[in-house]
């Protein structure tokens, strides 16, 4: 299905809403195209493209809700889907936490969409892949990479008058380059809304440099080290990560219930407490031009500019609508992106200003160890280097870490210039006393 315009989507949704016989009904219409290309051992291994469209109807009687989905849009099919949703709703158990649907909302003007990305085709992907493979082949390095591009829209309407529309595009590219002898490995990644801002060649060159520089790594004793964590070590496009884990653990209900790092001893939450270094400020902003995101959350709530952490103090926490009503507060949805404020230094400046430390390209297989303290474990990967007197001295063997982002953001030494990663803006961070607990032989 093509990317429907706001008006085209609304016409279909309004037609479906007219069939409603339930107390409340909402319609969600979504569609788009996604394409990908994957390569390994310096050759393309798979590539594909798919289009999808679906219309989902949720009907409600009292506190009983039922959903039915369809991907055919003739009148008979649409009406049948509404009747099916109503049938499912009548038989569903009551949900005591059901919240009545929202009425009309006001949304910020965001447009996380670029025509250049929407137009990508197999030839574009093949050329982008060639730009990445060719320099690796020429230097006898072995490349494995992946690029995925998406263009989609979604629209919501309900019988209370809510109407929302969003369209967006994204491209994610990552590459791992290994030396032919398998002794060196480097990584590069980039994600953009507008594919004209992506150079697979430039990202590949970063990975090539790291691969060549990381061969013949030396072993350092595990222990507490000053580290410079590159943005890809803080947020991952493909794995859990320390910063995303922190942001996603801020839910107010979990904190109120006593099962979160934001739970207060004796009850309540730690809202308003200073839990991080005073240089830590984290916001969400769907209108930020570098990381635009959708104007509404899945349940139709507006995405606004909001500060989660300001100068180390917890300022806001996301609430479900049910929990917000119970607590008598505003139902702030989780953000569509997050933006961590940083400094002006480049990564090179940060290395220059480091007496002794370890540069970490990327962290991997990051999993929770203790939800109470947000302790996570994982490993360094694809480019880990020892820094002395402001210079990279030699590559080091990979480490396993056990660390909490809460502790990490209290041990802050310096912050660089934020860059886009995983749809968010995150600065490279210099952290003291980062805990490495064992060595890994993995390259």
């Amino acid at each position: 299905m093509a990317i429907l315009t706001k008006e085209e989507a609304k016409t279909i949704i309004d037609k479906v809403l007219a069939y409603s016989k339930s107390d409340e009904m909402s319609v969600n219409l979504a569609g788009g195209r996604t394409g990908n290309i994957r390569y390994a051992r310096n050759a393309v291994s798979t590539s594909g493209e798919s289009v999808n469209q679906s219309l989902s109807v949720t009907s409600v009687f009292g506190k009983r809700a039922g959903t039915a989905t369809i991907n055919e849009f003739d009148d008979a099919s649409l009406e049948k889907t509404v009747r099916r949703a109503e049938e499912v709703a009548r038989l569903a158990p009551e949900n005591p936490e059901y919240m009545p649907m929202l009425g009309p909302q006001t949304y910020l003007n965001t447009d996380p969409y670029a025509e250049s990305t929407a137009k990508m085709d197999p030839n574009y992907r093949a050329q982008a892949t060639f730009d990445s493979l060719d320099p690796c082949r020429k230097k006898n390095l072995v490349a494995a990479g992946y690029m995925e591009d998406t263009a989609r829209f979604n629209a919501i309407g309900n019988t209370k008058g809510l109407s929302a529309y969003n369209r967006e595009t994204s491209v994610e590219f990552s590459i791992t380059v290994r030396t032919a002898d398998g002794l060196g490995s480097g990584y590069g990644t980039s994600d953009v809304t507008d594919v004209s801002k992506l150079s697979t060649k430039a990202v590949t060159e970063v990975a090539m440099g790291k691969a060549q520089a990381s061969a013949s790594a030396r072993a350092l004793e595990p222990g507490k080290y000053t580290v410079i964590l590159e943005p890809a070590a803080l947020v991952s496009n493909v794995d859990a990560s320390l910063m995303v884990a922190l942001i996603r653990s801020m839910d107010a209900r979990n904190a109120d219930e006593g099962r979160s790092f934001l739970s207060k001893k004796g009850g309540g939450t730690r809202l308003g407490e200073k839990l991080f270094d005073e240089r830590v400020t984290i916001n969400s902003d769907p209108t930020n031009p570098e990381v635009p995101s959708g104007a509404f959350s899945g349940d139709g709530r507006p995405q606004e500019k909001i500060t989660w952490i300001e100068k180390g103090v917890v300022k806001n926490m996301p609430y479900s609508r049910y929990w917000a009503e119970k607590k008598g507060v505003k139902a702030v949805p989780p953000g569509g992106n997050f933006i961590m404020e940083g400094g002006t230094q480049s990564l090179a400046d940060m290395i220059k200003g480091t007496e002794k430390g370890i540069l970490v390209t990327r962290l991997w297989y990051i999993r929770p160890v203790d939800p109470q303290t947000l302790l996570y474990t994982g490993l360094t990967r694809d480019g880990t280097f020892y820094i002395e007197n402001g210079q990279i001295k030699f590559p080091v063997k990979n480490f396993r870490f056990n660390e909490s982002p809460v502790i990490m953001l209290n041990n802050l030494e310096a912050m660089g210039k934020p860059v886009r990663i995983g749809g968010n803006l995150v600065p490279p961070l210099k952290i003291r006393d980062f805990t490495f607990t064992s060595l890994s032989d993995a390259v």
Binding site: R84, E97, A144, P368
Partner: protein, 537 residues
């Protein structure tokens, strides 16, 4: 790369799933004669466009999830996904195309033609043509999981009553919060290929899980305990309470029948007891690992590194490569573990998640050795890889998580063979001077070549001079795969053998999910490094 993040896992639905009513899950799929017609149309169309090999997968994937917390049903999800995927070799190169809701021969023929066009386009970038191990055709065959009670035929009310009863028992026994979920899956798969196989298969899986949370208001701390159930290739009979399926001991564990009510009652008390448990002193311990725990260590440190595509570098950018390189296998004396260690790949094991009659490229499933008497002897390979390890046939472990995904090499059930000498858990513990007995899986992480790992668990008991001395907390162990399996000194006998497993093993880009079981008996590993995970924030 490995398993999804821990906690109550969100349903991982096949692509193009649509929400349906519970009744629609019981409607029969296409008649087998219709499926054959649709498949033949694709086989013929691909051949006429120049394909030298074609396979067609017609898939109907049904899922049901019942999700509750405390006294509330949070969601009941019923989904169906139907479509056809066609894979071809043309000009020596693979091509794949899929079509949602294929209705007639024209739809499947068109997908086949697209697949051929893609193969021909990709052939320009090819380095070497596909070498496909030969495979005999089996004719028209079928396979059905030997279930006793189709979970989709069990009324929703019975499932809701079970979970709300479980939640009630948790709250009455010391839990402050409880989340419980029933996952049920039915894959109706039809495979046809130019080798002359037409295989119709019916696969069922079930996974009941919960997490209980106990809060200590005095300290502001919370502790959790997850279910000791296993995801199984079974029907609703897995939820029958059957004394013969129970393994009694310090806490009850389960074999092919799971007593969810009994387990949650114990879990609530144990989550409460964890508050008073001793924080572990870091150091070397002998570990006694229950099958409900060891499955995950097997999965990460044996199952993944012995996938041939990882060894060859196809997963380098995502899941990673493997320390178990071809030279180690060729040497015929790579010491993966101690003499006690025998690790088996098996796609035929009854009740396991990986059991099918035929894999997703028409190969009858098998059982084979990976590690025999501690030595690495084989990998897991599919038809286009068999020649690399000097095999003339595939090992039958090719899988796609949807009709819309292209099939590739996935992990078979990989299990540790039970000890041949009679040995009970009690007798194993009797000989341990300083050890920890670990039950249930917890935190898990391993590097991209599968050397260094760290695992947690659900329940930890200190062993002192052959006796269980009490509960421990803040435990995780770190080791290196080869060192760990070489520290294996004893494996209990077959009477203790049980399966664990995962519904959500992820691999590939775009990622695909696969369900896989891992069996073992309780096993002892000597002198493993244990760390203390307590922190103050």
């Amino acid at each position: 790369m490995g398993l999804g993040t821990a906690g109550i896992i969100l349903p991982n639905l096949p692509a193009f799933s649509r929400t349906v009513s519970p009744e629609q899950l019981l409607e029969p799929g296409l008649d087998v004669a219709v499926k054959k017609r649709l498949a033949d149309a694709a086989l013929n169309a691909a051949k006429s466009k120049g394909a030298t090999y074609t396979d067609v997968r017609i898939g109907r994937y049904l899922n049901q999830f019942v999700i509750t917390r405390e006294d509330k049903v949070q969601n009941i999800v019923n989904t169906e996904s139907y479509g056809v995927g066609v894979r071809v070799i043309a000009d020596g190169c693979w091509g794949f195309a899929a079509v949602v809701d294929a209705k007639n021969e024209a739809d499947t023929a068109k997908a086949a033609e697209t697949a051929v066009a893609i193969a021909k386009a990709n052939a320009k970038l090819m380095k070497e043509p596909v070498q496909l191990a030969s495979q005999k055709g089996y004719g028209e065959v079928s396979w059905k999981a030997p279930i006793q009670r189709n979970a989709f035929e069990v009324p929703i009310k019975e499932k809701v009553d079970l979970l709300l009863g479980v939640n009630d028992a948790a709250l009455k026994n010391g839990a402050n919060y409880v989340n419980s979920v029933l996952f049920m899956v039915n894959e109706q798969k039809y495979f046809a290929s130019t080798d002359g196989t037409y295989a119709d298969q019916d696969i069922h899986r079930i996974w009941p899980i919960f997490t209980v949370t106990a809060i200590d208001p005095k300290t502001g701390k919370f502790e959790t305990r997850n279910a000791l159930s296993a995801p199984m290739g079974m029907g609703y009979e897995y939820l029958q309470r059957n004394p013969v399926d129970k393994v009694t001991g310090i806490t009850t564990r389960y074999n092919k029948g799971y007593d969810m009510l009994e387990d949650v009652t114990a879990a609530a008390k144990q989550a409460r007891a964890k508050h008073a448990a001793k924080s572990v002193e870091a150091g070397k311990y002998d570990l006694v690992l229950d099958p409900s725990h060891l499955w995950l260590t097997i999965h990460e440190s044996v199952g993944h590194p012995l996938e041939l595509d990882r060894v060859l570098g196809y997963e380098a950018n995502f899941a990673g490569t493997s320390f178990a390189t071809l030279d180690k296998w060729k040497s015929k004396d790579f010491n993966y573990g101690s003499k006690q260690v025998n690790l088996i790949a098996d796609k035929t094991q009854v009740g396991s998640l990986g059991a099918v009659g035929y894999d997703d490229e028409g190969v009858q499933t098998q059982k084979w050795d990976l590690v025999r008497d501690g030595t690495l002897v084989n990998y897991q390979a599919i038809r286009d890889q068999a020649h690399i390890i000097d095999e003339d046939h595939s090992q039958g472990c090719c899988y796609a998580d949807s009709w819309s995904s292209v099939q590739f090499q996935r992990m078979a059930n990989v299990s540790l063979e039970a000890g041949k000498t009679p040995l009970s858990v009690a007798n194993m513990i009797k000989d341990v001077k300083k050890g920890i007995y670990i039950i249930g899986d917890g935190s898990f992480s391993i590097d991209q070549q599968r050397y260094n790992f760290q695992f947690g668990g659900q329940l930890f008991y200190e062993i002192k001079d052959g006796q269980i001395a009490g509960m421990l907390k803040d435990v995780a162990y770190q080791s290196n795969t080869q060192e760990f399996w070489n520290s294996c000194v004893q494996v209990c006998d077959a009477s203790d053998y049980r399966l664990g497993g995962s519904f959500f093993d992820g691999k590939g880009q775009p990622p695909q999910s696969s369900a896989v079981s891992h069996g073992s008996s309780t096993t002892r590993f000597n002198g493993v490094n244990v760390i203390n995970t307590a922190r103050k924030i």
